[in-house]
């Protein structure tokens, strides 16, 4: 009893320490007269008689006292752009991308852990609860090694900035000086919290202590998310500066600098993107382990792990296009030319590649679900209809990737009789593309519904009515989406933009209502057979690897697009990039660099996985269950 009390005490102290660690940066950020620091206004008052220069915020249009130096006017030379015999921009690109990959991964995985650990705590089935707990632990174990690598890559990134772009970096640091130490302290808080969370797992595995442990994961994720928000404010400032005047002089309001026009959409898009990416990477890890597994138990465990990771990743992938849509809308609202450069101009071809990657993500997900139906008895009844889903997906995909401006030879252009193809040209505009992607997502929802009811027969009295209702609901959803996509051609562009709302609402209605209805119908359903974990085709695992690779490639691509849209500006319209690399790369070159980044990430993360497997090998193996369909047990334990 005494031991338990002591544990409780320690755990509460640990939790308290985390809360303090979380609040510490905020406390540190408060201006304190005791330390001699004074607000600019007070300073102004003190130096009475001295002329105070005021200027107007470029974005908020408010007046503020100038407290910073103007953005430096750089020149191409060793002072502003020292270099090796290599393109500095590509070096920075590489360092940045690798840091982002790992950063996203270590921010996403603890969120999964939190969700899965919570599921384990609230699940009444003890065996299932243990599985969830083990899975959450497996997840955090993977992220721990990656965490060290993230910190190392962050250091490399800063050194790259200081070495290759010292003037620009010093300007940016001068603007963000009031919150720089908060960023560093947040990082310390994140590290400390993560280590306590990980190493305290076994000690706090039951009862009240488990809840404390779960609370720690919440704090861990709050810190991680705030950290990401701060990092996002840098890129938000570079794209859509605020809090400075036209010369780039800081006006004393750090909130304006952080809270730029694109900060919030970027935050949302990155949270969702990180989660989808994290899910993809963990799913790929599970797929790799599945393919390398030597026993049925291992296969069963990693099959299940892959499924959960994929489901979580896809849960965040589905709203991602809508968050992206919001971001683009805000970009257009901020600067029309920036929006056109992105979606209709210089970078439009990269968006076609992006559309292709999005399509691949959804196609892989559907394919995985169809394969997964193969491991449950009773799901055969849906197999014959899969070809129609393939048709819907393929049609949606083709519309989604059709470029507005086609690549063609002048002879083809002449044969076509104009820049726009009279048939396919219409697929190139947003109205059709919205229809295409919504058809794809709705079909994915339908695949999920089939998967969830694959081995079950509903026993509720209204099952027949429920099935008819679901069928009609999906049919109406498809009709509505396609109708709105066509109708979009007959109305003005600004109204057409608004049509995406009912289309999205239709898709989301399918997602929420159909999932809810399906769950209600399947409550107490008759099982035709258990899910035989581990008895899934190898092809499904390759689909998971494909999913993760597509995520990684797409993240690299979108990062490049977002950064390139500034064209020849370090800070848009404030600080010009005068290095020899202030031009936009060709599509082919960019694609090669992105591929190299993806390759490096996957090779390095394989190393991380291998390191993780070393600790697992040392750990004792728990009791194994060999009966197919029984609860899968992990290969290693903690």
């Amino acid at each position: 009893m005494g031991v338990v009390t002591r544990k409780k005490l320690f755990s509460i102290i640990a939790l308290g320490a985390m809360v303090v660690a979380l609040l510490l940066p905020i406390v540190m950020a408060l201006p304190s007269p005791a330390t001699g620091e004074e607000a600019p206004a007070a300073e102004g008052a003190q130096k009475e008689g001295e002329k105070v220069e005021k200027a107007r915020d470029v974005y908020y249009k408010t007046e503020g006292i100038v407290v910073g130096a103007p953005a430096p006017k750089t020149t191409d030379g060793p002072a502003d752009y020292p270099r090796y015999n290599f393109e500095s921009r590509v070096l920075l690109w590489f360092a940045n991308q690798q840091h982002l990959y790992y950063g996203s991964f270590v921010l996403a995985v603890p969120i999964f852990c939190m969700i899965i650990e919570f599921m384990g705590v609230v699940t009444k089935d003890k065996a299932l609860a243990k599985r969830y707990d083990q899975l959450a632990y497996d997840f955090i174990k993977i992220s721990l090694t990656a965490y060290s690598l993230t910190a190392i890559l962050g250091g490399i990134l800063i050194f790259t900035f200081l070495t290759l772009y010292p003037t620009f970096f010093s300007y940016l640091s001068s603007i963000f000086r009031p919150v720089m130490h908060i960023y560093a302290l947040m990082f310390v808080a994140e590290s400390g919290t993560l280590y306590i969370y990980y190493y305290g797992w076994d000690k706090m595995k039951e009862g009240f202590l488990k809840w404390i442990h779960l609370s720690m994961s919440v704090i861990l994720n709050v810190i991680g998310t705030l950290l990401m928000f701060l990092a996002n404010s840098w890129i938000g400032f570079m794209m859509s500066p605020a809090g400075v005047d036209e010369q780039g002089r800081y006006l004393g309001n750090i909130w304006h600098v952080i809270h730029t026009a694109l900060w919030n959409p970027l935050n949302l898009h990155r949270i969702l993107g990180n989660m989808a990416f994290g899910g993809g990477v963990v799913a790929a890890y599970a797929a790799y382990k599945f393919l390398a597994a030597k026993t049925d138990e291992e296969r069963a465990h990693y099959d299940w792990m892959g499924y959960i990771a994929m489901a979580l990743g896809v849960a965040f992938l589905i709203p991602l296009p809508f968050a992206g849509y919001w971001l683009m809308r805000e970009v257009y609202a901020y600067r029309q030319q920036m929006g056109i450069t992105l979606m209709g101009g210089l970078l439009a071809w990269l968006f076609i590649i992006q559309a292709t990657m999005i399509g691949i993500l959804f196609l892989s997900t559907n394919y995985y679900l169809w394969q997964a139906m193969g491991r449950m008895r009773g799901a055969e009844k849906y197999q014959r209809y899969i070809k129609y889903l393939v048709f819907l997906l393929a049609c949606g995909f083709m519309v989604f990737i059709t470029p507005h401006t086609m690549v063609m030879t002048p002879a083809e252009l002449k044969a076509m009789g104009g820049q726009q193809h009279p048939v396919l040209g219409n697929y190139g505009v947003m109205s059709a593309k919205n229809g295409g992607i919504n058809v794809i997502i709705t079909t994915t929802v339908l695949s999920f519904v089939w998967y969830m009811r694959g081995n079950k027969i509903s026993t509720v009295s209204w099952a027949r009515f429920g099935n008819i209702f679901m069928g009609v609901f999906f049919a109406c959803a498809y009709i509505n989406i396609i109708f709105l996509a066509i109708y979009g051609y007959y109305i003005p562009a600004n109204v057409r933009v608004g049509l995406s709302v009912p289309q999205v609402a239709t898709t989301l209605s399918c997602l929420f209502f159909m999932f809810t209805l399906n769950s209600m119908m399947m409550k107490g359903a008759k099982q035709l057979g258990p899910i035989e974990w581990g008895k899934i085709s190898a092809r499904s695992q390759y689909a998971l690897i494909m999913l993760a690779t597509a995520f990684t490639w797409m993240m690299g691509l979108m990062g490049y697009i977002r950064s390139s849209v500034r064209l020849f500006w370090h800070v848009n319209e404030i600080m010009r990039d005068n290095s020899p690399w202030a031009y936009t790369h060709t599509v082919g070159f960019a694609a090669n660099v992105i591929s190299a980044n993806v390759l490096f990430f996957w090779i390095s993360i394989l190393f991380v996985f291998w390191l993780g497997s070393l600790t697992a090998k040392k750990a004792p193996v728990e009791a194994k269950v060999g009966v197919p369909g029984a609860i899968p047990q992990p290969a290693g334990s903690h």
């Binding site: 394969q371 070809k387 393929a394 690549v407 063609m408 219409n426 505009v429 003005p492 092809r539």
Partner: protein, 345 residues
């Protein structure tokens, strides 16, 4: 069910015959026309009908004990699709897009044939049979592949590496990003905020809602609204400016852009690409009015770097027209096509 499948089979057979006729030029590809305005959906609908037709055909052949092996179903459908996009759709689809569609088609076929273990086994069995070469026929086939595959690879490589005299592929940006502002006749116009001074209501105030209510009706015929005839001598305000814009258009622009504003003017086919088709929903309908103003004023010569290869012969109209004339001609273009300029609210 059987009757339905028979109908499907009939559709499949007739569709295949029609396509074969189009491929061998026995039947002109416009025999069954793609109806203007509905072509994109018609194409998808037709492919959907083919899918249903083939399903029926497969069902009927199975019932007659003449089922086509899954391997040949998959390969056959893919080949059908490639032929469809090459021969059915007119004008011809550029190769880059056909390659994209062909890849999607191949992926879709592979997803279908490998969606479950049983189908996948059926699909790969003929391949395994050839690789195992248990029968004489398969043995011969394996040797054929052994010789043919390297030759094919060599042929593709040779073709890819061989220098060609064809014109290079162009990655043209049709709507390059405009500058934040543009200077015309000494005055600077901010593109995000500038307004057409002639888009006004009877009180003389800028009113897009009012002007939108007077444009021609979308749909067949593009008919004028009642009491909204700019050529009525009594027309005042917005409609009068539209008429003035129209006069300027027919004095200067219609030679290239056409009297129906569809890019098919008298001189249009002397250029490649032909001039912009304003009736297409992908041109002025999705651009801000100030974007058009900038393009008209600066012409092809004023296109920014990203407008490479600057394939536009439009003159910089600021050298020939006044600012007012340019605004009026833009007003006319929107009125005539029945589109509204894009706004961000």
């Amino acid at each position: 069910m059987k009757a339905l499948m028979s109908l499907g089979a009939l559709v499949g057979v007739v569709g295949l015959l029609l396509l074969a006729g189009m491929i061998f030029d026995v039947i002109p590809s416009n025999t069954i026309r793609l109806v203007e305005g509905y072509m994109p959906m018609q194409m998808l609908f037709e492919v959907g009908c083919y899918v249903l037709g083939f399903t029926g055909l497969s069902y009927m052949l199975n019932a007659m004990g003449m089922g086509i092996p899954r391997f040949w179903q998959g390969i056959g459908f893919w080949i059908f699709f490639l032929l469809y996009i090459k021969y059915r759709v007119y004008p011809p689809i550029p190769f880059s897009v056909r390659a994209m569609y062909g890849t999607v088609g191949l992926v879709a076929v592979l997803m279908w044939v490998s969606a479950n273990e049983e189908d996948w086994k059926k699909f790969k069995q003929p391949i395994l049979n050839v690789l195992d070469a248990q029968t004489g026929f398969n043995k011969v086939l394996r040797y054929v592949y052994l010789v043919a595959l390297p030759i094919l690879t060599w042929g593709f490589s040779y073709n890819a590496m061989m220098p060609k005299s064809e014109e290079p592929i162009e990655l043209r940006t049709v709507h390059p990003a405009p500058p934040a502002s543009t200077k015309v006749h000494g005055k600077t116009y901010v593109l995000q905020t500038s307004l057409n001074p002639y888009r006004v209501n009877p009180e003389g105030k800028y009113d897009q809602e009012y002007s939108n209510s007077l444009i021609v009706e979308q749909g067949m015929g593009r008919l004028m609204k009642p009491n909204a005839n700019p050529w009525d001598e009594k027309a005042e305000g917005y409609l009068k400016y539209v008429r003035e814009g129209g006069e300027i258009f027919f004095q200067n622009c219609h030679f290239c852009h056409g009297d129906n504003l569809n890019g098919r003017g008298l001189h249009a086919f002397a250029f490649n690409p032909i001039p912009a088709n304003f009736t297409d929903p992908g041109t002025i309908a999705q651009l801000q009015e100030t974007f058009i103003f900038w393009r008209v004023a600066k012409g092809g010569i004023g296109l920014p770097n990203e407008g490479f290869p600057w394939a536009s012969v439009m003159p910089p109209w600021e050298q020939h027209l006044t600012v007012d004339e340019m605004w009026k001609v833009i007003l006319f273009e929107y009125w005539h096509t029945g589109y509204y300029p894009r706004t961000w609210d």
